[in-house]
Amino acid sequence: MKREWPQWEIFVRSEAGLAHKHVGSLHAADARMALENARDLYTRRNEGVSIWVVKSDDVHATDPSEEDAFFRPSEDKNYRFPTFYHVPEGVKHL
């Protein structure tokens, strides 16, 4: 029998926040317990109005060794930024 409870990643949306933000992780037997533990560990000081819990195993991440391949190529592509383009004279509705 597996005795160790699975790990869960906790996301909390604050009152003013629009999106849930990752705040940490914890152990719990199932999702209901994970939500309760998250409430007790991460919202003790009015931090949140909504909690998401996701099993850590279900979070898939990029490999740090592939950082160059994943992220560096975007660095020299300034045409992907709106500031790259000049707005011609006389353009309306922009």
Partner: protein, 254 residues
Amino acid sequence: MMGTALDPRAEYVMRLGDNALVLAQRLSAWVAHAPIMEEDVALANVSLDLFGQARLWLSYAGELEGAGRDEDRLAFHRDAREFRNVLLVERPNGDFAATTVRGYFYDLWSYLGLGALEGSRSERVAAIAEKSRKETAYHLRRSEDWMIRLGDGTEESHTRTQRAVDELWRYTGELFLGDEVDAAMLEAGIGFDPPALLDPWFERVHTAFSSAMLEIPGDTWMQRGGKQGTHTEQLSYLLVEMQALPRAMPEAVW
């Protein structure tokens, strides 16, 4: 007896405060001893909620009493016979199952009682009840979840939980017994009628026990007397620890 000289309102509010205070003190003993870190923080949160409720009730009890005793004076400078908590909350922590079952029996009763007190004719009582009930709703959710998990868990957790139920059941009767103080407060529109809570309490326990695979004990002799000041020796040990510092140094400040 101390109680007879008191304003029944002070007596009534002191009972509510003492229930919260004694259970808060019991739960605080779990800090750094809970089965997992997450549970450690959760139990501490419940304990602190209850200390907060105790402060509100005892401050008000002191005002009603009019003898110049504040919340600290009442918490730290009364002897066991002056405490008005029900016997259930002074039961020792035992194992995690016993703490869970004790919590569940109390949380459910407290949740129902506070619900009735929200309609109290005393604005102060209604306001404290409203704040406390929100906290207690969460305590109840947790203790009920855990009781069902443990009861319907492994053979060992089931055995321990049923043992806790069998041991603690005899302290549930007192929750639903009214006396002259309850009658006076009911008459004044301030308090609730303890026997009226029995049906909703029992119904929910019955449902939860079915999910938890737990048996409700058969006819049991019910212990009583806590809220009139007759306690088990367990309360004395609890008070010795809780009151040691303020008794040794009455002028100490936080």
